[in-house]
Structures are given as C-alpha cells and as structure tokens.
C-alpha cells in the first residue's frame, strides 16, 4: 500500500503498517482509543460484565421466586413487569447476564485455546503437521456447526458445562485457520529467522516472537467468539436443550415463547432479553471488527471515493517560501 506514501510516513502510530508493528505495546490501546465504535463497544461490554459480576446485589427481587402476579405490566414495583411465573423480569435479566456472559466468555476461551493451539502449531511447524491439522480443520469446517451442536447437546444431556464445551469444541475451526495464516507470515519475517539462527528454541520463538505478533488478532477473535457463543447459547436453550436449573437470556427468550407472551400481550417479557443479547453481541462485534480492521492494511486505503481531493485557490505560495 505504497501509493499514499506521505500519510504512512507520518503515521507515527504505525497503524498503516498493519500487523508488522502489532507487537508494539501500544497497538491495541491506540486502535481501541482511536476508534469510536470500538470504544462504545468496550463501554457496553464493561457495563454488562459489571452487572454480571454484581448481579446478586443488583437484583431487586429473588429471580427464582414468584414475587408478583403472572405477566404484570411494568410498574414502579416491577420496573420491567413480571414473567409467566410471576418472577420479576429485571431480576431475571440481571441474573441471566451472569450465565449468558459466563457461557460466552468460557466457551470462547475453550474455542480460542483449541483453535489458537492448532493454528500456531500448524503455521509454525508447517510441513506434515500443517497438512494433517489443516485437513482435519477443513473437514470440521464443512460439518454444519449448529446441527452438530444440537445433536451433541441432545446426546450428552442438559448441563451448563456441556453447553460450554460443545460451543467451544465446535467453534475453534475458523480461529485455527486465521491464526495459522498469521503465524505463517510472522514466521517468515527476518527477525524470527534471525532469532532462530541465533539458536532460540521453538518454545522460546513461539512465546517470545510469534505469539506477541498474533496476540491482537487472537484477542479480536476472542471477542468475536464471545458473541458467537452467546448466540449459540440462546439457540441451544431455545430448543429445550439448555440447563433447566439456570437462568440465562436464552432461557428468558424461550420462556417468552413457551409461556405464550405474545398472546398475553406481554411485550416486556419478549423485548428485554433479546435486546440484551443483541446489544452485547453488537458490542463484541464492534470491538472485534475494529481491531481486525486496524490490522488489515488493505482496508486503510480506498481508491474509490465519492469525495475528491480539493483545490485550494492561490494558497500555498507563502507556505512554500
């Protein structure tokens, strides 16, 4: 991307250089700080994480108890009304954030651990390791994930741990491919070769040189994966395969459906859980996408624009002197 050379020359943050400079400690911070969607996303996600952490202190009522009439509309007593069991919707939402976000984070971690390991091994060692691992990944990619998730959930029984494992074990493939490509290109860089020539061992090379380079991408991928996992949880739960003893946003959507909230005109039981899921997924996508875009040098240049450069009449002659 050499065509707009002066901007890049002046780009002190090194963003224009894409992944080349991602090992600089400030990369993630500058990308996130300089990017409004990412900041908004981060703000939203932090808010929900705090709610999830402090859930037991924030819930106005016990979410597992019947505290009011069935499908009571929002009032000063029940801010978001009650559900089909007379439970307080606001308390249920707050309690649900714990399970939904928890499942999202842990499942994403499982997926990233598997995918990251496969990707790093494959990209770093290349050769036979690469061929075998990537073949396997290719086959896994073709198996439709959601039906597989249903089958496995149906076969293994309805517990939260199972759901986390299922989501994690099924969603690692795209991460593996992404990380592999990145590791491969980092591996070819001069300084990695130099370090290797100087006798650095594989473990040292991977942890000291390769991983720091792919870290931003890995983090972006994790955040996007959290979104996918939260989505998958609502899905599995909706089909009645969720853990029956826990409250999650997915469960609340299922409740609204099973409890025929539509017929009872109880919009307050339908709208909030979905809005929460949508907002959190939106936030994760905004963060992850911003980091990924920051890493993609090709996105930084647009050769086609409805706007054109401007002509300044007569200016500049003084500046030149």
């Amino acid at each position: 991307m050499s065509l707009i050379e002066p901007v890049q020359a002046a780009d002190e943050d090194g963003l224009a250089q894409g992944i080349l400079k991602t090992s600089r400690p400030g990369f993630l911070r500058t990308t996130l700080l300089g990017n409004r969607p990412a900041m908004i996303g981060l703000f939203i996600l932090t808010f929900f994480v705090l709610v999830a952490i402090f859930a037991p202190w924030l819930e106005p009522y016990d979410p597992t108890e019947k505290v009011g009439p069935v499908y009571a509309p929002p009032s000063s007593e029940f801010w978001l009304g009650t559900d089909d069991g007379g439970g307080d919707m606001l308390s249920l939402l707050i309690a649900g954030s714990r399970v939904s976000l928890g499942v999202g984070f842990v499942a994403a971690l499982v997926a990233i651990l598997i995918g990251g390991t496969v990707g790093v091994l494959s990209g770093y060692f290349g050769g036979k390791t690469d061929t075998v691992l990537m073949r396997f990944t290719d086959y896994m990619l073709v198996i439709p994930d959601i039906p597989l998730m249903i089958i496995v959930a149906a076969l293994f029984g309805r517990s939260l741990t199972n759901i986390v494992l299922i989501i994690g074990v099924i969603y690692w493939t795209s991460t593996a491919r992404l990380i592999r490509a990145q590791v491969k290109s980092v591996r070819e860089r001069v300084y990695v070769k130099r370090a290797q020539a100087l006798g650095a061992g594989n473990r040292r090379l991977i942890f000291k040189h390769v991983l720091p380079q792919v870290a931003p991408l890995l983090i972006a991928n994790t955040v996007l994966m959290i979104a996918l996992a939260i989505f998958a949880e609502t899905f599995i739960t909706f089909l009645g395969l969720g853990d029956p003893s826990t409250i999650s946003w997915g469960r609340l959507i299922e409740n609204a459906f099973e409890g025929e909230a539509t017929i009872n005109n109880a919009w307050w039981a339908i709208v909030p859980p979905g809005v929460c899921v949508t907002i959190v997924i939106l936030a994760c996508t905004m963060i992850g996408q911003s980091v990924e875009d920051g890493l993609n040098p090709r996105l930084r240049v647009g050769h086609l624009s409805v706007k054109r450069f401007r002509v300044r009449p007569g200016a500049g002659s003084e500046a030149a002197k």
């Binding site: 050499s2 065509l3 707009i4 050379e5 002066p6 901007v7 890049q8 020359a9 002046a10 300089g34 240049v301 647009g302 050769h303 624009s305 706007k307 054109r308 450069f309 401007r310 002509v311 300044r312 009449p313 007569g314 200016a315 500049g316 002659s317 500046a319 030149a320 002197k321």
Partner: protein, 332 residues
C-alpha cells in the same frame, strides 16, 4: 533546444493531507519544474519525500483527504484548477502513468489485453477489432508477443507484467508518461531491459514528438542511466534540479552530494539510503532548512532562515544557503 515550448509545466504545486485530529501534513511544498517533449527527468528522494505524491497530484489521483494548490500546465493549458473535472479528460490520453508495483496494477480476473484496451474504448480511441490490433501492436512494442493479450496477469512474469503496464500506459498515445519506481523488485537484467525501453520510447519518435518521461525512484544509478535531467526532493521540496551530469559532477545541495556518494544499503529494505538521521515530520512548521539536522555543512543561517531557490549555474537550481556568497562570507 530551449526554443520549444514545454509540454508539461508544474508551477508552485502544494499538496496537504488532512490528518485525524484536524492537523495537516504539507506533503508537497511549492514544486515547480517544466519539461519539453522527449525529455526524461528523474525525481529522486527518500521514501516519504513527496515524489509519488507529486505525480499523483499531476494525475489528479490524490485521495479525498488531500487538498492541492498550484498549476499543472499541459501544452500551456492549466488542468489542475478544476480538480477532477478538468484533469480527467487529459488523464491517460495526454498524461498517463505506470504505477509502483505494477504487479498489482492488473486486475487478476481479467485478461491483460482487455485491461489495455479499456482506456482506448473509454477515450474513444478505438473499439472492437481495431482496439484488439492496437493492443497487439503495443505489446509488440514493449517486447511481448501480441497473442499474449488473452492471457491473465498471473500467467505473466514480473518483468512481463511491468512491460504490459507500460503498454497499458501508452494505450492512448500520451505526451507525458509518469513512471513510479518501474523497476523496483525486478532483477537486474529485466530492470535494464525496462529502462532501455523507456529511453527508447522517448527517443524513437524524435525530439518534437518524443514521449516526456518523469521517472520517480530512489535508485540513483537508474536515474543516471535513463534521464537527462534530475530533480532531488527532500521533505516535500525540490532541493536541487538540473542536468543529470551537472548534478552528478557538481552537486549544489549537501543532500544531493550525500545521496550520490552514499552506497545503497544492500542488506536492508529496498528504500534505505544510508544517510544518518531521519527526514523531518511534515505535519509541523519547519523553521530554517529542513535538511539542517542531517547536514554536514550546516552553518548559522540554516537554523533560522529557510533557503530560497537560487540558480548558481544557468539551468541548475538549488535551495541551499551555501550557494549564497553573502551568507557564506559572513559565516567565515
């Protein structure tokens, strides 16, 4: 020689880029030069000195974050004043360009021939069969068999793609050809062939009709081999300009002198010229001479007064206080 009017004249060209946060980067500062038909000028300087920006401005291909001022005359007519509107009729038909890294100048999913013919159709030069035969002619001209027109870019070698890019630039018989690092990333043999081709193109048609070539490069031997004139750019300005051999044998700016005496860094990146120090940032006001921090012969006025353009020898100009006898005498 000097009786002929210039084909292209750039007058006080300035380019600014908007930076995030509202500040500006003054990338090209008051660039002025003119060229006659058949002349070949090298535009030399380090990465980021504004050489590519200068020719992109002449083509009207700057991004939306850029603003320009100044004049670009083609055959005595200013084409820059109306921006895109006034430039686009001349683009490719009168002034065309070979882009840096021509490897990527071709769309991988279309045939080379179709992409060479594209501007002919757009500018009403030729269509259908006549376009096809002209594509074959152009390819032959740059040393590629005409029947290769139906091949895809990936079927061409790097050198062939570069020649094809030159053929594409010549599609509408322009008067001026701007070539941005046309030989970077090519091996020495291929590089020599391409340079020979460029010289040939401007010479074969004779002085009156010969192609005017501006060659942008950081590679001084290339300029010496191809060009009859050279302009050295530093921090957005032309710091020295004149006949090729004049500059080589009698440089009037320390930067040019250091450039010519420096050996290229064989181990490093392709664009590193081993002069210690880095060019100044162009998003701030520069006080005094922009080159002063790296200059080996800087003296007192250099840190306060910005050197103006002077012509110590006829046809050879420079921006350096060393050429001002009144200042140098004062200092010594």
């Amino acid at each position: 020689m000097s009786t002929r009017p210039p084909v292209v004249r750039v007058e006080d060209l300035n380019v600014w880029f908007d930076l995030p946060g509202g500040s500006e980067l003054h990338a090209v500062q008051g660039v002025t030069f003119e060229l006659r038909s058949g002349e070949r000028m090298g535009l030399v300087g380090e990465s980021g000195c504004g050489k590519t920006t200068t020719i992109l401005a002449m083509m009207g291909l700057l991004p939306a974050t850029a603003s320009v001022s100044g004049k670009v005359f083609l055959d005595g007519q200013d084409i820059l004043y109306g921006g895109e509107e006034t430039i686009s009729p001349h683009r490719w038909s009168d002034i065309s360009m070979v882009f840096q890294g021509a490897m990527n100048a071709f769309n991988p999913v279309k045939t080379v021939g179709a992409q060479i013919a594209e501007p002919m159709v757009l500018h009403g030069m030729a269509t259908g069969r006549s376009a096809r035969s002209r594509v074959a002619e152009l390819l032959e001209l740059v040393g590629i068999a005409g029947d290769r027109a139906d091949r895809y870019p990936h079927e061409f070698s790097g050198g062939m793609r570069q020649r094809a890019a030159i053929a594409m630039a010549l599609a509408c018989s322009p008067k001026v050809l701007l070539a941005d690092e046309p030989t970077t990333a090519l091996d020495v043999m291929v590089q020599a062939q391409i340079l020979e081709l460029l010289v040939g193109l401007s010479k074969t048609l004779g002085e009156e009709l010969g192609l005017t070539v501006i060659l942008v490069t950081h590679d001084l031997p290339v300029v010496a081999q191809v060009c009859d004139r050279a302009a050295v750019m530093y921090a957005g300005e032309i710091v020295e300009m004149g006949g090729m051999s004049d500059i080589y044998h009698d440089p009037r700016h320390p930067y040019s002198r250091m450039l010519f005496s420096a050996t290229p860094d064989l181990l490093g990146d392709d664009e590193v010229i081993s002069i210690p120090g880095a060019p100044p940032r162009l998003d701030r006001e520069i006080v005094g001479c922009a080159f002063r921090p790296r200059c080996d012969s800087a003296f007192e006025p250099c840190s306060t007064v910005r050197p103006g353009r002077s012509e110590p020898v006829a046809g050879h100009e420079a921006r350096c206080h060393l050429n001002d006898p009144s200042l140098t005498e004062l200092a010594s």
